[in-house]
Amino acid sequence: MTKLWSWGALLFGLVYFTLPLIGMTEFSLKMRRGEYSFDAYAKVLADPKFQETFSYSVLMALVTIAFGALLVVPTAFWVRLKMPWARPYVEFITLLPLVIPAIVIVFGYIRLYNTSSWLPLTGTAMGTNILLMFGYATLALPYMYRAVDTGLRTIDVATLTEAAQSLGAGWGTILARIILPNVLVAVLSGAFLTFAIVIGEFTMAALLNRPAFGPYMQLLGANRAYEPAALAVIAFGITWACMGLIQLITRFSKHTRAQR
């Protein structure tokens, strides 16, 4: 009886998630009357606006990932090594972006860094890009920190650090040659999540008025019929590709296989 129920629940879940997807995909293929075609996809991919915004968002994602990793790995390492008592507090801080809406953060930014402020970052395109990158990094912080902290748990941070120190290594060497390689898989899984977040993010990019992919999707969705569906399928594919890559990389790192 319970078996029947669990199968039923599974079936319901599958239908709940896949039906809209199937419907959307089917709709995106119906641009040409009477037959299925990839016309909508071709249109979207050929749109110079698409290429422009997509490459902008990819670049922003990469910069965000680099910044996030440089910020989070040393922080998580230091907290684990020297201030274990501070872990709950740091964890709480990294969770804040989940409860504070992005719109609050971005309005805060605009208040603090507008053209008449002490640091007029929004005055130039570059300044705004930097601000947007900080915003993205904040949004990705919960995922990045959690991933790296979990990665650090699998190694004996304190003893490995001491072993490296006794061999003459300084902090930079320890981080770059011992800590980072051992949490690389964790950093990469954090990185792909960051990538997925940045590619789809709308609020910050729109309010800071940058040509990102999120606002472009929004704009397209408001004006066209078939293209937004195609675009959504593409975005969805990117997200799933990221997930797949996380799995792949976990499997390919040679020294973590069969670790005790």
């Binding site: 061999l167 011992i178 973590t256 296989r257």
Partner: protein, 352 residues
């Protein structure tokens, strides 16, 4: 002056004084063990020498130079940990070469030295393996090679054998000692296993509650313990209660038998003192040169192969004594009456 000099070392964690006025001088090439029960401060002393803890006061000098204010990565000290602590992302060869690379040794010289070290630990073909592909004993040998590759001035080992099983523990400790003697490297070895300390050390420091109770060669520590703690902690001990008859002449009464000790006593007439004997100093039956003879009853017999360990009730105390196995004399039955003999010269007077 000693090569490694530790003077008046003090360390407290909060209000807990963990190391108290610790003094030790180690000659170049000497192998010294820190032996003591859990929590007595062995690791803390070692970590202060390595630079991972800062002493509250006191000096640590290596080759005449005070290192207390040097950071761990400036001290050129090799360290081996209980948990191996090999870098999991590096191969065996890269682990061993890690310190050399940091020192800026050239690629070719690195390879030569790594190969040399791997030969020294008897694993010349495992350079390309990752740590997780090695057994515990192999990992610890690689850790030793890694620590020694940079030619440190002092080698520190913190219970390096505790995580291994008994057989490997014995063979690896012999190997560590051989390598240490071959390289002539000054070494501090921390253990709470007295057999380990006795078998491989030049000198042993017996620690208790953050204090060095006695420093001496294994033979000395075992046969002439200075304090009650050392006597009890190192080896098995049989203790007897005795009454002092004449302290100046060293005469005491043990269960009605009068015994003259080789040395005078500091106690007063009528005082009760504790006398101790190692199991191998007691003899079953009468024996030439063992002038004190006491009656007893056998309570337990353990046949250990070459040695037979017998427990007997003698003079109101339960004592253990060892006899060598001989094919022509079977061990005595439990419950039998027996005589136990020993020499008064072997008695250890237990002080404070």
């Amino acid at each position: 002056m000693a090569f490694l000099d530790i003077e008046h070392l003090e360390k407290a964690f909060g209000i807990l004084r963990v190391v108290k006025d610790f003094n030790l001088g180690i000659q170049k090439g000497e192998f010294v063990s820190l032996l003591g029960p859990s929590g007595c401060g062995k690791t803390t002393v070692l970590r202060m020498v390595a630079g991972f803890e800062t002493p509250n006061s006191g000096a640590i000098r290596i080759d005449g130079k005070d290192v207390v204010n040097q950071r761990p990565n400036q001290r050129n000290i090799g360290m081996v940990f209980q948990a191996y602590a090999l870098f999991p992302n590096l191969t065996v060869a890269q682990n061993v070469g890690f310190g050399l690379k940091i020192k800026g040794v050239g690629r070719a010289d690195q390879d030569i030295r790594v190969a040399e070290m791997l030969r020294l630990i008897g694993l010349p073909d495992l350079g390309n393996r990752y740590p997780f592909q090695l057994s515990g004993g192999q990992q610890q040998r690689v850790a030793l090679a890694r620590a020694l590759a940079v030619k440190p001035s002092v080698l520190l080992l913190d219970e390096p054998l505790s995580a291994l099983d008994a057989k490997i523990r014995v063979s690896l400790r012999t190997e560590i000692r051989e390598i240490q003697q071959k390289l002539g490297i000054t070494t501090i070895f921390v253990t709470h296993d007295q057999e380990e300390a006795l078998s491989i050390s030049d000198r042993i420091v017996v620690m208790n509650g953050g204090i060095a109770e006695q420093v001496g060669a294994p033979f000395e520590i075992y046969n002439r313990p200075n304090t009650k703690f050392v006597a009890n902690f190192v080896g098995t001990l049989n203790t007897f209660d005795a009454a002092v008859l004449d302290p100046a002449a060293g005469r005491v009464s043990l269960a009605g038998t009068e015994i003259t000790l080789p040395q005078p006593l500091v106690s007063l007439t009528g005082d009760r003192i504790a006398l101790a004997l190692r199991p191998e100093a007691l003899h079953l039956g009468r024996f030439e040169g063992r002038e004190v003879v006491l009656p007893g009853v056998i309570t337990d017999v353990h046949f250990l192969g070459s040695v037979i360990r017998v427990r007997a009730d003698v003079a109101g105390a339960s004592v253990a004594l060892d006899t060598f196995n001989r094919a022509d004399t079977p061990p005595p039955p439990v419950g039998a009456a027996a005589e136990v003999s020993f020499s008064a010269a072997d008695l250890i007077v237990l002080g404070g």
